[in-house]
């Protein structure tokens, strides 16, 4: 799959989160178009150019957050740093699997962190679903639109989380830290997941359609 950077963010490392670049102001259509977040731009530079400067930025942003997250699950500081190191090294090594039309950077790193934490702490491999094959022939323009839509939906989730009452927010945090059982989670709703879910579903339907077309050729 081609890079979204090529089509949407010609100056990858300069683009701040969801900015409107003033130099593009002459083109009204582009002026209002939101850009990909800087985290996504870093990740694409890591994936496509093996860009170590972008990796350092990703480290500066996610390293302390990952450590905070892992320590909240009860891991001592030293072990938390081992896990952070392991997760970020996995991000570097598996960067070719990152697809912003399927998952936002934070979501992708969250998955890796959960998998690695289970592998390391419980010493068992978490069963994971079959991967969907990303096809070279995929429609890049549609992918770029999908990547932006997922970012916008994730932003909505972020705002929804910020608006929750402290007790409810704490429940959500505990749920995604892995501290609640499924029966406890059943009673702890609070984030509106419906819209991001239908957006992801649309992307999957399009992917299935493309895969079917490829098979018929």
């Amino acid at each position: 799959m081609l890079s979204v950077v090529d089509t949407l963010a010609p100056e990858p490392r300069m683009a701040p989160r969801a900015c409107v670049r003033s130099e593009l102001a002459v083109t009204p259509d582009i002026k209002t178009a939101p850009a990909l977040s800087e985290q996504t731009v870093w990740m694409l530079a890591i994936r496509d150019q093996r860009d170590k400067a972008a990796f350092k930025r990703l480290f500066d942003y996610y390293g302390p957050r990952l450590k905070g997250f892992v320590m909240r699950t009860g891991a001592p500081a030293a072990q938390a740093e081992d896990i952070v190191q392991d997760v970020l090294l996995t991000v570097w090594r598996k960067a070719h699997l990152f697809d912003p039309s399927r998952a936002q950077v934070s979501s992708w790193i969250y998955q890796i962190a959960r998998n690695r934490q289970i592998d390391i702490i419980r010493k068992e491999a978490r069963p994971v679903p079959e991967a969907l094959k990303a096809e070279d022939e995929a429609d890049d323009e549609a992918d770029a639109g999908q990547a932006l839509a997922i970012e916008q939906e994730t932003e909505k989730l972020r705002r929804a989380l910020a608006k929750l009452a402290p007790a409810q927010r704490d429940m959500i945090e505990r749920a995604y830290l892995g501290e609640l059982t499924h029966t406890e989670i059943r009673d702890a709703t609070g984030l509106p997941l419906g819209t991001i879910k239908s957006r992801i579903r649309l992307g999957l339907e399009r992917l299935r359609h493309e895969l079917k077309d490829l098979r018929q050729e």
Binding site: R65, V84, P127, T181, R186, I200
Partner: protein, 213 residues
């Protein structure tokens, strides 16, 4: 890809899977179902997006000096050899093949023509493949906790409805059900229960709870 699926994994079970709090045996059934079902794949991705937001917003902890240096130094080290995850084989989705270590199931007869193959488990639960001959009714079985049963071949019916390939029956503690396999090819399911019970071939069939076999 997906067959027509009408019975899905409940959202809270998918959330627990995303968060890593679901036991290994159930996680296997969730991963196998998600491999077959885009509705639940989207549900899972939505929970992972929410998890990502929590990860970004939960608060930072200062990293020790030298960590960046160590990490940057590790980037160019040769990648450890990683085995590719097992691929789908026939009716068995990737995660099931992975649990089978890439081999075909080694069935053991448990009476009444029913066969099983244990494929995983830990202190919290067990997962197994079950093969039920067409038309065969499986005796009443209560259970202590959650039971997830995913159909891989054929189908079965009970009081809760009809379950085809890709469908998941979710039975909570106390539900008595008598699943009966459809006519046609044998019904093959992958099931997860909360207790790794031992099967005793000398017990009368009525005492053999299906999924606790």
């Amino acid at each position: 890809m997906s067959p027509k699926i009408s019975h899905h994994i409940p959202p809270e079970v998918i959330a627990a899977y995303a968060a890593g709090s679901l036991g290994q045996a159930y996680a296997l059934v969730v991963a196998a179902h998600v491999s077959m079902c885009d509705t639940c794949r989207a549900e899972l991705a939505a929970h992972e997006a929410a998890g990502g937001v929590v990860l970004e917003e939960i608060g930072e902890a200062t990293l020790s000096d030298g960590m960046l240096h160590r990490l940057m130094g590790a980037l160019d080290a040769p990648k450890p050899q990683e085995r590719a995850p097992a691929a789908r084989h026939g009716i068995y989705p990737g995660p099931v093949m992975e649990a089978l270590k890439g081999a075909t199931p080694r069935w053991k007869s448990v009476g009444g023509g029913v066969k099983q193959c244990l494929i995983g488990g830990d202190a919290q639960g067990a997962s197994r493949l079950l093969l039920i001959p067409p038309g065969q009714a499986v005796p009443d079985h209560g259970h202590n906790g959650l039971e997830l049963t995913l159909v891989l071949q054929g189908g079965f019916s009970d009081d809760a409805g009809h379950f085809d390939v890709g469908d998941v029956e979710v039975a909570n503690a106390g539900l008595d059900h008598v699943p009966t396999a459809d006519p046609g090819p044998p019904c093959i399911v992958v099931a997860a229960t909360d207790a790794p019970l031992k099967f005793n071939t000398f017990l009368p069939r009525l005492l053999q709870p299906l999924f606790g076999i």
